[in-house]
Amino acid sequence: MSAVAEMPIAAPAARKAGNWLLVATVILLSVWVLLPIYLLMVNALSSPEEVTAFPKRFFPSFDFGSLSFFINFAGVGRALWNSVLVATLTMILSIGFGAPAGYALSRFDFPGKGTFRFLVLMTRAFPLPLLALPLAVMFIRTGLDDTAIGLALVHTTLALPFAVLITFSLFSGIPVELEEAAWTLGCTRLQAFRKVILPLALPGIAASAVFAFTISWNEVFAAAVLTIENRTLTAFLLQSLGESPLYLKFAGGAALVIPALIFIFAVRKYLFAMWGIANR
């Protein structure tokens, strides 16, 4: 009897202890994720002398020496431009090809649907950057070697499956009745899509576009294999790892990380919807 009477007192105490443990775990895990990024930023915001000095300070001196050395280093400006160009092309290609497919999957039942889904899902069982090896030869034959569009085509194979799956779930989330209502009111299929569905789907499509951009922006292997003169930032950094000084590496790392932080922040709402569908 007394044990039962004590229960209501003991339970909140246990719950409180549990809450503290929960908060402590969250903080610990956040530090684990954020601290390494912070340390990279400390390096990027210190002068070249400070970066190579020992011991190090754990706070940045806000000296832009490293960053300006990086920006003015031969080839960096061009590499940055190439990265943006390739990522933009990847974004356009993967949404351009992926969104219609996602729409078709969500709205129609037709023979061959299962096969197509299988093809898309299969891409995830393969290490796609390796495709750059055989494509290197094909590109030399077709004149696509060392071009932004050639690399963007390879990056699109990485981003396209995501674009298809994300837009599929987006369109599935918009009731088909809305479209049908537009048809009965005299819209053609295209008009109904443009005036009713597209505005509703646009934020999600934008998010998957940003995701495609990020995939391309971050990709290293295919970029390093397929570009020589027109290197992207990742390819440039990788190929100069051997000879470049530390402060160049860290400033370059920061240049890669900061846009990525913004991208992930921009699509954070959609991240889980994106990967939730990856479960099926």
């Binding site: 895990l29 990279l40 020992f54 190090k56 219609p100 709205r107 390796l130 090896l133 292997f221 950094l237």
Partner: protein, 281 residues
């Protein structure tokens, strides 16, 4: 243009694209791996396995995957359960945990280089604590073990997010009623986790593990940034044969090996973690 043709028209661009840039290159890479100067041969594979670096690269890659993936699975489960229990600040915690998802593997390598470099933050910390007299060379060619540890840490740091996100989405699909019912019957949180969350999470676990294992065999830029040539891995060797050694066919053999391992492991996990149709939510 109405009716039956429309879905096929909509699927056409993506299908054609995947055929040209996904299926065709695979045929091509297999072809290149088995040929040399136009004739069928297994020489490329012999050259590959005969190179002294091959066993090192092979076992490094396997060992890395075998150590990194289980740790990540546990960490991702921890992150996902912690996040799903959080009432305030859930969005912020999710964003922070998801950050590495958007970070390039090369950038992740450079981030951990800032820590493990000879003039890096770890050495600074150790010398501030008085544990070392002068900076230790963690990433030199004689310190294979510390390179390995650094790569393991960087990989865990970088790629746990992808598993976490999949698991969070999966936990969201589990109906709350199950947990409530178990709570009513007095199941402890641990028991609820083992008896409800884990079994119902199996489809997500399967996806997360498959994706992560494939990524683990693609490990390349993190290693390049931290270990350079001191720590060979399969993908790095592929790159070397393509570039430094200018031998496409051997590079293709490496690619085919990585592919075979990836596909083999995918099939393995599909089978082991198979979810019967009736048991799906």
């Amino acid at each position: 243009m109405h009716g039956k043709a429309l879905p096929y028209l909509l699927l056409m661009p993506a299908t054609l694209f995947l055929c040209v840039f996904f299926l065709y290159p695979f045929a091509l890479v297999a072809f290149e791996a088995f040929t040399r100067d136009g004739g069928f041969t297994l020489d490329n594979f012999r050259t590959m396995t005969g190179n002294w670096k091959f066993p090192v690269a092979f076992w490094n890659t396997i060992l890395l995957a075998a150590i990194v993936v289980p740790i990540q699975l546990v960490m991702a489960l921890l992150m996902a359960t912690v996040v799903s229990r959080l009432e305030t600040g859930r969005g912020a915690a999710l964003y922070i945990f998801a950050i590495p998802l958007g970070i390039s593997d090369l950038a992740a390598g450079l981030i951990w280089l800032a820590i493990f470099d000879q003039s890096g933050f770890l050495n600074t910390l150790l010398s501030n604590l008085g544990l070392v007299d002068r900076p230790v060379m963690f990433l030199g060619y004689q310190s294979k073990l510390t390179i390995f540890v650094a790569v393991v840490l960087a990989e865990i740091w970088r790629a746990t997010a992808i598993m976490m996100v999949i698991l969070v989405a999966g936990i969201g699909l589990i109906p709350r009623e199950y947990h409530e019912a178990a709570e009513v019957f007095g199941a402890s949180p641990w028991k609820r986790f083992v008896k409800i969350t884990l079994p119902l999470l199996r489809p997500s676990l399967q996806t997360a593990i498959i994706l992560r294992v494939i990524l683990a065999f693609e490990v390349f830029a993190v290693v390049a940034a931290l270990g350079g040539t001191n720590f060979p891995v399969l993908m790095g060797e592929t790159y070397n044969w393509q570039f430094s050694l200018q031998d496409r066919n051997v590079a293709a053999a490496f690619a085919l090996l990585i592919l075979a391992i990836s596909v083999g492991l995918t099939l393995f996990f599909l089978r082991v973690l198979r979810v019967p149709k009736e048991a799906r939510i």
